[in-house]
Point group: C2
Chain length 297, copies 2
Amino acid sequence: MSEDFQSWMGAVQAEVEVALGERLPAVSAIPARLHDAMRYAVLGGGKRVRPLLTFAAGELVDARPECRIAAALAVELIHAYSLIHDDLPCMDDDALRRGRPACHIEFDEATALLAGDALQSRAFELLATPGLADPQRQIEMLALLARASGSLGMAGGQAVDLASVGRPLNQPELELMHAMKTGALIRAAVLLGAASGETALSAAELLKLDHFSKRIGLLFQVVDDVLDCTASTATLGKTAGKDAAADKPTYVSLLGLEEARRYAEDLYQEACSALAGFGTRANRLIRLADFICHRPF
Amino acid sequence: MSEDFQSWMGAVQAEVEVALGERLPAVSAIPARLHDAMRYAVLGGGKRVRPLLTFAAGELVDARPECRIAAALAVELIHAYSLIHDDLPCMDDDALRRGRPACHIEFDEATALLAGDALQSRAFELLATPGLADPQRQIEMLALLARASGSLGMAGGQAVDLASVGRPLNQPELELMHAMKTGALIRAAVLLGAASGETALSAAELLKLDHFSKRIGLLFQVVDDVLDCTASTATLGKTAGKDAAADKPTYVSLLGLEEARRYAEDLYQEACSALAGFGTRANRLIRLADFICHRPF
């Protein structure tokens, strides 16, 4: 990883962390325990991959800083809420997240449920801050985030995932599930970044960017499956080997470890190719794809 | 209840039911079980008080039908998601809703959790349909709904409610809790209706309408507490006497039954007075306040 890219990542992560802290309700506001739980689940952890993608896609369009940060935070809050709900006993029942007790362990189940619910509302509230972009485009951005989050996107992917436990899925079924569960929000992160600028991309450019976003969404999941099987719980900050233990279908169980790694490389190359026409403006996106593909955790 | 008002209510309820059915994903769409649960929780029940308020407030401003119905459905979907999550074992743990098994009983907890999550997303998606209103106003409507749903509104009210079990609240504390838990979304229903027209209300008119909406939000809860203590489970379609059994503070426990009834009458009169300047345009809103105050269930 080049020094320039690493310092860019660090700067974006720091900006996102500060902005999240500022735009989540203070613990001093009633109800204090709920706000404490929301802040606990969102702050102080996470690689912020989705905000990084929003910022990187923003480089294609001269992103307006206020719009870019609102889009990045909105996507991250949706992601954070989904993790809280995923970890609940009725879902994955996981006690560990980002190396700390999961929200429902640190607080309680009811508070965790409501914290997730309220984070989803807060995501839409942030993206509905007046004046972020041309109003019509801002409404399209809100619609895009809502679609990506709902029953045909992330929440729907969770439901498909639940239904798949103990049932053999073939590769197309597995890809549909992940395209919804992880892919939809990663795609939203990229497309919202590309919508946050003064200028708009052409339809042809948007198609290419969309292809990129779908490839890295899938890439993210394939690498996740590989790491779930090869990395330790301490490294991951969440329970390792969980999918195999739960008899959930993964790319590793479907393709084997070596073939899954090769598939990740192919997806990475394909993602890069999709951006060939953008020139140096796409450098950050390509570096992020590299990071997603080759991250150690 | 006059025949005219009754037939208007029936017509709005029917329009809302049809529109909900059309704008929720079909059960045939993947993931089928999730969509089935979403439709189960939303369709075929409920008095549709919030959509009725949106429609009635729309009479103040010559509401655009497309905007009015989208606002009404968005509020109702937020309400429906909150009921699903409320009934979960980690919250109120209630098996009965609208005279039928609660969503997590009819399906399962994980599906109910995700159905609630996806209904929230769908609410914002509906209200972000392009072209409903002047775009800037539409963004303000989205922000209003998000605020009303989040940690300083409905979800926050739930958290305050949870924290209050077994703890004596005084009347101001109880009113703050209900202003958030029930009041915020009722207020949103009214204000979104008033924002769905070709014309806008003046600042002075908005203040009066806002006062009305806050009074009926509280009225709704006071009557709910009275009914919880006087009506049967069969009549309510949900478990009666639950609040007293859970040692939750209610207006009846705080004021006694007779005083709570008198308080409801006062709130009703105050709500009507707030609308005095609107003339006949406010007739439906006043009839709805009457309905909320004197409903038998």
